[in-house]
Symmetry: C2
Subunit: 248 residues, 2 copies
Protein backbone atom coordinates (compact mmCIF):
# COMPACT_ATOMS: atom_id res chain seq x y z
CA UNK A 1 0.00 0.00 0.00
CA UNK A 2 1.38 3.37 -0.98
CA UNK A 3 0.98 5.49 2.11
CA UNK A 4 2.29 8.96 1.30
CA UNK A 5 -1.02 10.29 0.00
CA UNK A 6 -3.79 11.40 2.39
CA UNK A 7 -5.52 8.45 4.01
CA UNK A 8 -9.23 7.72 4.18
CA UNK A 9 -11.48 5.34 6.04
CA UNK A 10 -14.95 4.36 4.84
CA UNK A 11 -17.52 3.41 7.48
CA UNK A 12 -20.45 1.46 6.00
CA UNK A 13 -23.32 1.67 8.49
CA UNK A 14 -26.07 -0.89 8.11
CA UNK A 15 -27.35 -4.21 9.39
CA UNK A 16 -28.37 -5.23 5.86
CA UNK A 17 -24.76 -5.75 4.77
CA UNK A 18 -23.82 -7.62 7.96
CA UNK A 19 -26.81 -9.96 7.67
CA UNK A 20 -25.82 -10.90 4.12
CA UNK A 21 -29.12 -9.58 2.72
CA UNK A 22 -27.50 -6.84 0.67
CA UNK A 23 -24.36 -7.06 -1.43
CA UNK A 24 -22.42 -3.83 -0.88
CA UNK A 25 -21.91 -1.70 -3.98
CA UNK A 26 -20.52 1.43 -2.39
CA UNK A 27 -17.05 0.31 -1.37
CA UNK A 28 -15.56 -0.17 -4.82
CA UNK A 29 -17.19 3.04 -6.11
CA UNK A 30 -15.69 5.13 -3.33
CA UNK A 31 -12.34 3.28 -3.49
CA UNK A 32 -12.05 3.99 -7.21
CA UNK A 33 -13.17 7.61 -6.83
CA UNK A 34 -10.67 8.33 -4.06
CA UNK A 35 -7.89 6.64 -5.96
CA UNK A 36 -8.55 8.91 -8.95
CA UNK A 37 -7.86 12.00 -6.86
CA UNK A 38 -4.84 10.69 -4.98
CA UNK A 39 -6.44 9.69 -1.69
CA UNK A 40 -5.72 6.18 -0.41
CA UNK A 41 -8.64 4.25 0.99
CA UNK A 42 -6.73 2.73 3.92
CA UNK A 43 -9.50 0.90 5.71
CA UNK A 44 -13.19 0.05 5.51
CA UNK A 45 -15.38 -0.80 8.47
CA UNK A 46 -18.85 -2.23 8.16
CA UNK A 47 -20.78 -1.72 11.37
CA UNK A 48 -24.36 -2.24 12.57
CA UNK A 49 -27.00 0.38 13.35
CA UNK A 50 -25.95 0.50 17.01
CA UNK A 51 -25.42 3.96 18.48
CA UNK A 52 -22.43 3.22 20.71
CA UNK A 53 -20.66 1.35 17.90
CA UNK A 54 -21.18 4.25 15.49
CA UNK A 55 -19.98 6.80 18.09
CA UNK A 56 -16.84 4.81 18.95
CA UNK A 57 -15.98 3.96 15.36
CA UNK A 58 -16.42 7.53 14.08
CA UNK A 59 -14.33 8.94 16.95
CA UNK A 60 -11.47 6.53 16.48
CA UNK A 61 -11.44 6.72 12.67
CA UNK A 62 -11.74 10.52 12.65
CA UNK A 63 -8.47 10.79 14.57
CA UNK A 64 -6.67 7.93 12.78
CA UNK A 65 -7.33 8.99 9.16
CA UNK A 66 -7.22 12.22 7.16
CA UNK A 67 -10.69 11.66 5.73
CA UNK A 68 -13.64 9.60 6.94
CA UNK A 69 -16.64 8.80 4.77
CA UNK A 70 -19.80 7.17 6.06
CA UNK A 71 -22.68 5.63 4.12
CA UNK A 72 -26.12 4.75 5.41
CA UNK A 73 -28.52 5.59 8.21
CA UNK A 74 -29.56 9.16 7.34
CA UNK A 75 -33.12 8.45 6.20
CA UNK A 76 -36.44 9.10 7.97
CA UNK A 77 -37.05 5.73 9.69
CA UNK A 78 -36.42 4.52 13.25
CA UNK A 79 -33.29 2.58 12.19
CA UNK A 80 -31.65 5.71 10.74
CA UNK A 81 -29.48 6.77 13.67
CA UNK A 82 -26.31 7.95 11.96
CA UNK A 83 -26.83 11.74 12.29
CA UNK A 84 -27.66 11.51 15.98
CA UNK A 85 -24.72 9.19 16.65
CA UNK A 86 -22.28 11.46 14.82
CA UNK A 87 -23.50 14.48 16.80
CA UNK A 88 -22.69 12.47 19.95
CA UNK A 89 -19.27 11.46 18.61
CA UNK A 90 -18.37 15.15 18.22
CA UNK A 91 -20.19 16.32 21.36
CA UNK A 92 -22.42 18.74 19.48
CA UNK A 93 -26.19 19.13 19.46
CA UNK A 94 -28.38 17.63 16.74
CA UNK A 95 -30.70 20.41 15.66
CA UNK A 96 -33.01 21.52 12.87
CA UNK A 97 -30.89 22.85 10.01
CA UNK A 98 -32.79 25.66 8.25
CA UNK A 99 -31.16 25.13 4.87
CA UNK A 100 -31.90 21.39 4.98
CA UNK A 101 -35.50 22.12 6.03
CA UNK A 102 -35.97 24.43 3.06
CA UNK A 103 -34.53 21.83 0.69
CA UNK A 104 -37.02 19.26 1.99
CA UNK A 105 -39.87 21.77 1.85
CA UNK A 106 -39.13 22.52 -1.79
CA UNK A 107 -38.85 18.85 -2.63
CA UNK A 108 -41.85 17.41 -0.79
CA UNK A 109 -44.12 20.44 -0.52
CA UNK A 110 -45.55 21.55 2.83
CA UNK A 111 -48.39 18.99 2.70
CA UNK A 112 -46.01 16.01 2.50
CA UNK A 113 -43.25 17.24 4.80
CA UNK A 114 -44.26 15.18 7.83
CA UNK A 115 -42.42 14.65 11.12
CA UNK A 116 -40.53 11.61 9.84
CA UNK A 117 -39.19 13.49 6.84
CA UNK A 118 -38.30 16.53 8.95
CA UNK A 119 -35.99 14.20 10.87
CA UNK A 120 -33.75 14.33 7.78
CA UNK A 121 -33.20 18.05 8.49
CA UNK A 122 -31.82 17.26 11.95
CA UNK A 123 -28.08 17.77 11.41
CA UNK A 124 -25.17 17.99 13.90
CA UNK A 125 -24.47 21.69 14.62
CA UNK A 126 -21.56 23.18 12.73
CA UNK A 127 -21.96 20.84 9.75
CA UNK A 128 -21.90 21.84 6.11
CA UNK A 129 -24.50 20.21 3.87
CA UNK A 130 -23.76 17.77 1.04
CA UNK A 131 -26.38 18.31 -1.67
CA UNK A 132 -28.38 15.39 -3.02
CA UNK A 133 -29.74 15.89 -6.53
CA UNK A 134 -31.46 12.48 -6.52
CA UNK A 135 -33.78 12.54 -3.52
CA UNK A 136 -33.12 15.96 -1.94
CA UNK A 137 -32.37 14.97 1.69
CA UNK A 138 -28.80 16.17 2.21
CA UNK A 139 -25.75 14.54 3.75
CA UNK A 140 -23.31 16.64 5.74
CA UNK A 141 -19.66 17.28 6.56
CA UNK A 142 -18.46 17.68 10.14
CA UNK A 143 -14.73 18.10 10.77
CA UNK A 144 -13.10 15.45 8.55
CA UNK A 145 -16.20 13.21 8.38
CA UNK A 146 -18.35 13.11 5.24
CA UNK A 147 -21.77 11.63 5.94
CA UNK A 148 -23.60 10.21 2.91
CA UNK A 149 -26.67 8.12 2.11
CA UNK A 150 -26.50 4.33 1.71
CA UNK A 151 -28.59 3.95 -1.47
CA UNK A 152 -25.90 3.66 -4.16
CA UNK A 153 -27.47 6.07 -6.63
CA UNK A 154 -27.84 8.76 -3.95
CA UNK A 155 -24.40 8.11 -2.44
CA UNK A 156 -22.78 8.39 -5.87
CA UNK A 157 -24.42 11.75 -6.55
CA UNK A 158 -23.32 13.02 -3.13
CA UNK A 159 -19.77 11.76 -3.63
CA UNK A 160 -19.56 13.47 -7.02
CA UNK A 161 -20.65 16.69 -5.32
CA UNK A 162 -17.87 16.63 -2.72
CA UNK A 163 -15.10 15.14 -4.84
CA UNK A 164 -13.88 18.56 -6.01
CA UNK A 165 -13.33 19.70 -2.42
CA UNK A 166 -11.13 16.79 -1.35
CA UNK A 167 -7.40 17.44 -1.33
CA UNK A 168 -5.59 14.45 -2.79
CA UNK A 169 -1.93 13.78 -3.38
CA UNK A 170 -0.33 12.19 -6.40
CA UNK A 171 -2.60 9.94 -8.38
CA UNK A 172 -1.79 6.26 -8.08
CA UNK A 173 -1.40 4.73 -11.53
CA UNK A 174 -1.63 1.02 -12.19
CA UNK A 175 -0.72 -1.50 -14.87
CA UNK A 176 -1.91 -5.08 -14.85
CA UNK A 177 -0.56 -8.18 -16.58
CA UNK A 178 -2.34 -11.52 -16.36
CA UNK A 179 -0.65 -14.84 -17.00
CA UNK A 180 -1.99 -18.40 -17.08
CA UNK A 181 0.57 -19.65 -14.57
CA UNK A 182 -0.01 -20.22 -10.88
CA UNK A 183 1.55 -17.96 -8.26
CA UNK A 184 3.88 -20.66 -6.92
CA UNK A 185 5.99 -20.75 -10.10
CA UNK A 186 6.56 -17.02 -10.34
CA UNK A 187 6.65 -16.03 -6.64
CA UNK A 188 10.42 -16.11 -6.21
CA UNK A 189 11.12 -13.93 -9.25
CA UNK A 190 8.33 -11.54 -8.22
CA UNK A 191 9.96 -11.01 -4.83
CA UNK A 192 13.19 -10.01 -6.55
CA UNK A 193 11.43 -7.46 -8.75
CA UNK A 194 9.45 -6.12 -5.78
CA UNK A 195 12.70 -5.66 -3.81
CA UNK A 196 14.19 -3.77 -6.72
CA UNK A 197 11.15 -1.45 -6.87
CA UNK A 198 10.18 -0.45 -3.33
CA UNK A 199 8.33 2.56 -4.81
CA UNK A 200 6.05 0.31 -6.88
CA UNK A 201 3.55 -1.95 -5.14
CA UNK A 202 3.23 -5.30 -6.91
CA UNK A 203 0.08 -7.20 -6.01
CA UNK A 204 -0.38 -10.82 -7.04
CA UNK A 205 -3.94 -12.13 -7.43
CA UNK A 206 -4.71 -15.72 -8.42
CA UNK A 207 -7.80 -16.32 -10.56
CA UNK A 208 -9.74 -19.13 -12.20
CA UNK A 209 -11.04 -18.30 -15.71
CA UNK A 210 -12.57 -20.76 -18.18
CA UNK A 211 -11.34 -23.63 -15.98
CA UNK A 212 -7.77 -22.34 -16.17
CA UNK A 213 -5.67 -21.10 -13.27
CA UNK A 214 -3.88 -17.81 -13.64
CA UNK A 215 -2.41 -14.86 -11.80
CA UNK A 216 -2.96 -11.14 -12.27
CA UNK A 217 -0.02 -8.94 -11.38
CA UNK A 218 -0.96 -5.37 -10.55
CA UNK A 219 1.78 -2.73 -10.38
CA UNK A 220 0.78 0.51 -8.63
CA UNK A 221 2.80 3.65 -8.15
CA UNK A 222 2.54 7.42 -8.12
CA UNK A 223 5.72 7.59 -10.25
CA UNK A 224 4.88 6.99 -13.93
CA UNK A 225 8.44 6.36 -15.02
CA UNK A 226 9.24 3.84 -12.31
CA UNK A 227 5.90 2.14 -12.96
CA UNK A 228 6.79 1.72 -16.66
CA UNK A 229 10.26 0.32 -15.92
CA UNK A 230 8.94 -2.08 -13.29
CA UNK A 231 6.15 -3.21 -15.60
CA UNK A 232 8.62 -3.87 -18.46
CA UNK A 233 10.89 -5.93 -16.21
CA UNK A 234 7.91 -7.86 -14.95
CA UNK A 235 6.77 -8.52 -18.52
CA UNK A 236 10.18 -9.84 -19.57
CA UNK A 237 10.30 -12.06 -16.48
CA UNK A 238 6.79 -13.43 -17.09
CA UNK A 239 7.56 -14.23 -20.72
CA UNK A 240 10.01 -16.86 -19.50
CA UNK A 241 6.94 -18.76 -18.20
CA UNK A 242 4.37 -18.10 -20.93
CA UNK A 243 4.03 -15.96 -24.03
CA UNK A 244 0.26 -15.73 -23.48
CA UNK A 245 0.06 -12.53 -21.45
CA UNK A 246 -3.00 -10.30 -21.11
CA UNK A 247 -2.40 -6.61 -20.60
CA UNK A 248 -5.02 -4.40 -19.01
CA UNK B 1 -28.97 -5.85 15.47
CA UNK B 2 -29.81 -8.86 17.60
CA UNK B 3 -26.86 -9.23 19.95
CA UNK B 4 -27.53 -12.25 22.15
CA UNK B 5 -25.96 -14.79 19.80
CA UNK B 6 -22.17 -15.24 19.60
CA UNK B 7 -20.54 -12.34 17.77
CA UNK B 8 -18.12 -12.49 14.86
CA UNK B 9 -15.85 -10.11 13.06
CA UNK B 10 -14.61 -10.63 9.51
CA UNK B 11 -11.25 -9.14 8.55
CA UNK B 12 -10.79 -8.89 4.79
CA UNK B 13 -7.07 -8.50 4.10
CA UNK B 14 -6.08 -7.16 0.72
CA UNK B 15 -5.08 -4.03 -1.16
CA UNK B 16 -7.12 -5.12 -4.17
CA UNK B 17 -10.43 -4.39 -2.42
CA UNK B 18 -9.22 -1.05 -1.05
CA UNK B 19 -7.95 0.11 -4.44
CA UNK B 20 -11.35 -0.61 -6.01
CA UNK B 21 -9.84 -3.16 -8.40
CA UNK B 22 -11.76 -6.10 -6.99
CA UNK B 23 -15.40 -6.21 -5.94
CA UNK B 24 -15.57 -8.23 -2.70
CA UNK B 25 -17.65 -11.39 -2.89
CA UNK B 26 -16.71 -12.95 0.44
CA UNK B 27 -18.54 -10.72 2.89
CA UNK B 28 -22.10 -11.65 1.93
CA UNK B 29 -21.20 -15.37 1.69
CA UNK B 30 -19.75 -15.43 5.19
CA UNK B 31 -22.50 -13.19 6.58
CA UNK B 32 -25.18 -15.52 5.24
CA UNK B 33 -23.34 -18.65 6.41
CA UNK B 34 -22.87 -17.34 9.95
CA UNK B 35 -26.46 -16.21 10.12
CA UNK B 36 -27.61 -19.73 9.23
CA UNK B 37 -25.88 -21.15 12.29
CA UNK B 38 -26.86 -18.44 14.76
CA UNK B 39 -23.68 -16.36 14.82
CA UNK B 40 -24.05 -12.61 14.27
CA UNK B 41 -21.56 -10.97 11.98
CA UNK B 42 -21.11 -7.84 14.10
CA UNK B 43 -18.39 -6.06 12.15
CA UNK B 44 -16.29 -6.28 9.00
CA UNK B 45 -12.93 -4.62 8.54
CA UNK B 46 -11.17 -4.36 5.21
CA UNK B 47 -7.47 -3.66 5.73
CA UNK B 48 -4.35 -3.46 3.53
CA UNK B 49 -1.44 -5.92 3.34
CA UNK B 50 0.48 -4.00 6.01
CA UNK B 51 1.96 -6.07 8.81
CA UNK B 52 1.37 -3.68 11.70
CA UNK B 53 -2.22 -3.07 10.62
CA UNK B 54 -2.91 -6.80 10.45
CA UNK B 55 -1.29 -7.41 13.85
CA UNK B 56 -3.22 -4.60 15.56
CA UNK B 57 -6.55 -5.43 13.93
CA UNK B 58 -6.34 -9.16 14.70
CA UNK B 59 -5.38 -8.48 18.32
CA UNK B 60 -8.15 -6.02 18.96
CA UNK B 61 -10.84 -8.02 17.13
CA UNK B 62 -9.79 -11.30 18.76
CA UNK B 63 -10.53 -9.86 22.19
CA UNK B 64 -13.65 -7.92 21.18
CA UNK B 65 -15.55 -10.70 19.37
CA UNK B 66 -16.31 -14.39 19.99
CA UNK B 67 -15.14 -15.41 16.52
CA UNK B 68 -12.80 -13.74 14.05
CA UNK B 69 -12.52 -14.80 10.41
CA UNK B 70 -9.89 -13.51 8.04
CA UNK B 71 -9.68 -13.83 4.26
CA UNK B 72 -6.67 -13.24 2.04
CA UNK B 73 -2.90 -13.15 2.16
CA UNK B 74 -2.00 -16.82 2.72
CA UNK B 75 -0.59 -17.60 -0.74
CA UNK B 76 3.04 -18.05 -1.88
CA UNK B 77 3.88 -14.51 -3.07
CA UNK B 78 5.71 -11.61 -1.39
CA UNK B 79 2.46 -9.76 -0.66
CA UNK B 80 1.03 -12.74 1.29
CA UNK B 81 1.90 -11.70 4.84
CA UNK B 82 -1.17 -12.81 6.80
CA UNK B 83 0.29 -15.95 8.44
CA UNK B 84 3.40 -14.15 9.62
CA UNK B 85 1.39 -11.19 10.91
CA UNK B 86 -1.01 -13.44 12.82
CA UNK B 87 1.89 -15.31 14.44
CA UNK B 88 3.13 -11.91 15.63
CA UNK B 89 -0.32 -10.92 16.88
CA UNK B 90 -0.35 -14.01 19.12
CA UNK B 91 3.37 -13.89 19.99
CA UNK B 92 4.06 -17.36 18.65
CA UNK B 93 6.63 -18.56 16.13
CA UNK B 94 5.82 -19.10 12.48
CA UNK B 95 7.25 -22.51 11.63
CA UNK B 96 7.05 -25.33 9.09
CA UNK B 97 3.90 -27.35 9.81
CA UNK B 98 4.57 -31.03 8.94
CA UNK B 99 0.95 -31.84 8.12
CA UNK B 100 0.68 -28.83 5.83
CA UNK B 101 3.98 -29.74 4.17
CA UNK B 102 2.70 -33.25 3.44
CA UNK B 103 -0.51 -31.88 1.98
CA UNK B 104 1.48 -29.64 -0.38
CA UNK B 105 3.87 -32.49 -1.25
CA UNK B 106 0.96 -34.74 -2.21
CA UNK B 107 -0.66 -31.99 -4.24
CA UNK B 108 2.32 -30.56 -6.12
CA UNK B 109 4.71 -33.49 -6.12
CA UNK B 110 8.30 -33.14 -4.89
CA UNK B 111 9.51 -31.67 -8.20
CA UNK B 112 7.10 -28.72 -8.07
CA UNK B 113 7.17 -28.01 -4.35
CA UNK B 114 9.51 -25.04 -4.53
CA UNK B 115 10.51 -22.55 -1.81
CA UNK B 116 7.67 -20.19 -2.60
CA UNK B 117 5.06 -22.93 -2.26
CA UNK B 118 6.65 -24.24 0.92
CA UNK B 119 5.94 -20.82 2.40
CA UNK B 120 2.29 -21.93 2.49
CA UNK B 121 3.28 -24.60 5.06
CA UNK B 122 4.62 -21.92 7.40
CA UNK B 123 1.87 -21.75 10.02
CA UNK B 124 1.77 -20.07 13.46
CA UNK B 125 2.63 -22.65 16.12
CA UNK B 126 -0.29 -24.18 17.97
CA UNK B 127 -2.68 -23.74 15.03
CA UNK B 128 -5.07 -26.34 13.70
CA UNK B 129 -5.32 -26.64 9.92
CA UNK B 130 -8.38 -25.81 7.82
CA UNK B 131 -8.43 -28.16 4.83
CA UNK B 132 -8.73 -26.82 1.30
CA UNK B 133 -10.20 -29.27 -1.22
CA UNK B 134 -9.83 -26.79 -4.09
CA UNK B 135 -6.14 -25.90 -4.18
CA UNK B 136 -4.66 -27.87 -1.23
CA UNK B 137 -2.82 -25.10 0.67
CA UNK B 138 -4.57 -25.04 4.06
CA UNK B 139 -5.88 -22.24 6.22
CA UNK B 140 -5.60 -22.46 10.00
CA UNK B 141 -7.30 -21.77 13.31
CA UNK B 142 -5.44 -20.10 16.17
CA UNK B 143 -7.39 -19.30 19.34
CA UNK B 144 -10.68 -17.77 18.08
CA UNK B 145 -9.24 -16.67 14.73
CA UNK B 146 -10.07 -18.60 11.53
CA UNK B 147 -7.63 -17.80 8.75
CA UNK B 148 -8.89 -18.50 5.21
CA UNK B 149 -7.89 -17.82 1.61
CA UNK B 150 -9.14 -14.79 -0.32
CA UNK B 151 -10.09 -16.47 -3.61
CA UNK B 152 -13.88 -16.90 -3.22
CA UNK B 153 -14.02 -20.53 -4.42
CA UNK B 154 -11.26 -21.57 -2.00
CA UNK B 155 -12.62 -19.50 0.88
CA UNK B 156 -16.08 -21.04 0.42
CA UNK B 157 -14.70 -24.58 0.56
CA UNK B 158 -12.71 -23.73 3.70
CA UNK B 159 -15.72 -22.11 5.34
CA UNK B 160 -17.88 -25.14 4.60
CA UNK B 161 -15.20 -27.28 6.26
CA UNK B 162 -15.23 -25.33 9.52
CA UNK B 163 -18.91 -24.47 9.71
CA UNK B 164 -19.77 -27.63 11.62
CA UNK B 165 -17.33 -26.74 14.41
CA UNK B 166 -18.70 -23.27 15.09
CA UNK B 167 -21.04 -22.95 18.06
CA UNK B 168 -23.95 -20.74 17.17
CA UNK B 169 -26.96 -19.61 19.13
CA UNK B 170 -30.53 -19.37 17.97
CA UNK B 171 -30.93 -18.94 14.25
CA UNK B 172 -32.10 -15.50 13.17
CA UNK B 173 -35.15 -15.79 10.95
CA UNK B 174 -36.30 -13.05 8.66
CA UNK B 175 -39.39 -12.03 6.70
CA UNK B 176 -39.40 -9.26 4.14
CA UNK B 177 -42.24 -7.17 2.71
CA UNK B 178 -41.66 -4.67 -0.07
CA UNK B 179 -44.00 -1.79 -0.80
CA UNK B 180 -43.99 0.87 -3.53
CA UNK B 181 -44.18 3.72 -1.04
CA UNK B 182 -41.31 5.85 0.14
CA UNK B 183 -39.99 5.60 3.69
CA UNK B 184 -41.19 9.04 4.71
CA UNK B 185 -44.87 8.06 4.54
CA UNK B 186 -44.56 4.93 6.65
CA UNK B 187 -41.78 5.91 9.07
CA UNK B 188 -44.02 7.06 11.93
CA UNK B 189 -46.12 3.89 11.93
CA UNK B 190 -43.00 1.72 11.66
CA UNK B 191 -41.55 3.32 14.78
CA UNK B 192 -44.71 2.38 16.70
CA UNK B 193 -44.51 -1.25 15.56
CA UNK B 194 -40.78 -1.39 16.32
CA UNK B 195 -41.43 -0.07 19.84
CA UNK B 196 -44.07 -2.76 20.35
CA UNK B 197 -41.60 -5.48 19.25
CA UNK B 198 -38.22 -4.82 20.84
CA UNK B 199 -37.35 -8.50 20.23
CA UNK B 200 -37.81 -8.12 16.46
CA UNK B 201 -35.42 -5.94 14.50
CA UNK B 202 -37.24 -4.04 11.74
CA UNK B 203 -34.95 -2.73 9.02
CA UNK B 204 -36.20 -0.27 6.42
CA UNK B 205 -34.40 -0.18 3.06
CA UNK B 206 -35.40 2.19 0.24
CA UNK B 207 -35.01 0.93 -3.31
CA UNK B 208 -35.53 2.07 -6.90
CA UNK B 209 -36.95 -0.63 -9.21
CA UNK B 210 -38.24 -0.11 -12.74
CA UNK B 211 -38.16 3.64 -12.15
CA UNK B 212 -40.39 3.29 -9.08
CA UNK B 213 -39.45 4.15 -5.52
CA UNK B 214 -40.15 1.61 -2.83
CA UNK B 215 -39.15 0.35 0.58
CA UNK B 216 -38.27 -3.14 1.77
CA UNK B 217 -39.10 -3.90 5.38
CA UNK B 218 -37.06 -6.71 6.86
CA UNK B 219 -38.16 -8.23 10.18
CA UNK B 220 -35.51 -10.33 11.93
CA UNK B 221 -35.80 -12.30 15.15
CA UNK B 222 -34.75 -15.53 16.79
CA UNK B 223 -38.34 -15.96 18.04
CA UNK B 224 -40.53 -17.45 15.29
CA UNK B 225 -43.82 -16.64 16.94
CA UNK B 226 -42.99 -13.01 17.67
CA UNK B 227 -41.62 -12.65 14.15
CA UNK B 228 -44.93 -13.88 12.69
CA UNK B 229 -47.04 -11.56 14.84
CA UNK B 230 -44.82 -8.56 14.08
CA UNK B 231 -44.87 -9.37 10.38
CA UNK B 232 -48.68 -9.63 10.36
CA UNK B 233 -49.09 -6.29 12.12
CA UNK B 234 -46.65 -4.72 9.70
CA UNK B 235 -48.56 -6.17 6.76
CA UNK B 236 -51.89 -4.77 8.01
CA UNK B 237 -50.27 -1.39 8.58
CA UNK B 238 -48.69 -1.33 5.12
CA UNK B 239 -51.99 -2.24 3.43
CA UNK B 240 -53.33 1.13 4.50
CA UNK B 241 -50.81 2.65 2.06
CA UNK B 242 -50.88 0.18 -0.82
CA UNK B 243 -52.38 -3.21 -1.62
CA UNK B 244 -49.42 -3.99 -3.90
CA UNK B 245 -47.09 -5.73 -1.44
CA UNK B 246 -44.30 -8.15 -2.37
CA UNK B 247 -43.52 -10.89 0.12
CA UNK B 248 -40.13 -12.59 0.17
Amino acid sequence: MIMKNPSACLIVIGNEILSGRTQDKNISFIATGLNEIGINLSEVRIIPDVEQTIVDTVKSCSSAFDYVFTTGGIGPTHDDITSNSIAKAFNVALSRNKEAENILLNHYGAENLNTARLKMAEIPEGSKLIYNPVSAAPGFIIENVYVMAGVPRVMQAMFDNIKGELKGGAKTLSKTISIYTTEGFIAEGLTKIQNEFPDVEIGSYPFIKNQRLGTSLVCRSTDTERLEICHSKLRIFLQTFSTELDDE
